[in-house]
């Protein structure tokens, strides 16, 4: 059974979802790549930011 860490699972999820978003939401290859990279960074960045928020508000 494949048991990735939470961050590894998140990274894989972000990679695949960003690829599909980039291809389907934009029309030219250059814009697809840029939008996919933007989504990937947002996925990871928002997860890291929320992780810190939860860490700081934890009792």
């Amino acid at each position: 059974m494949f048991q990735p860490s939470h961050f590894a699972a998140l990274s894989l999820f972000a990679l695949f979802a960003s690829t599909v978003f980039g291809i389907t939401m934009r029309e030219t290859p250059k814009r697809m790549f840029r939008y996919g990279a933007y989504c990937f960074v947002l996925f990871l960045g928002s997860a890291v930011a929320l992780s810190w928020v939860m860490y700081l508000i934890a009792p």
Partner: protein
């Protein structure tokens, strides 16, 4: 002074009768059944390959993590999960027939896997609709 629009840089979508000829819904249905197949039918080989690899890998990782494949819809959450799973088309049916996936989620990795499978189905629906938009000329 009015400036005439420069249409040369914009590829024209197929309109009217040209877009309605043949089986308009074939890329949509093919893309739903097999990830990327809708784009392959339209000759978009690279896009189709990237979509197929992304969606199939996501689904396979979900199965490898022993994610749950929804088999019944008892409550609203199960219905939503089932709808997401059905988006995977033949992948879902084949794995159900082979008895892959788990019936119950017991550890956190299985929960990740369940989400991977559901989201792979939803992404496949997006990809199939994209193929339909390419076919009808709504997207170039």
């Amino acid at each position: 002074m009015a400036i005439a629009p420069n249409n040369s840089a914009v590829s024209k979508p197929a309109t009217g009768k040209q877009a309605q000829q043949g089986l308009v819904y074939l890329p949509l249905i093919a893309g739903w059944l097999v990830p990327g197949a809708g784009h392959f039918l339209l000759g978009k080989w690279v896009r189709g390959a990237l979509l197929a690899v992304s969606i199939i890998c996501m689904f396979a990782l979900g199965i490898a993590m022993q994610g749950k494949l929804y088999s019944s819809a008892q409550d609203i959450l199960d219905m939503l999960g089932m709808a997401g799973d059905l988006g995977n088309g033949l992948l879902f049916l084949i794995c159900r027939l082979l008895g892959l996936g788990a019936n119950q989620v017991q550890i956190v990795t299985q929960d990740y896997g369940t989400k991977f499978i559901v989201v792979a189905g939803l992404l496949n629906v997006i990809a199939a609709v994209d193929a339909h938009n390419l076919r009808t000329g709504r997207k170039s």
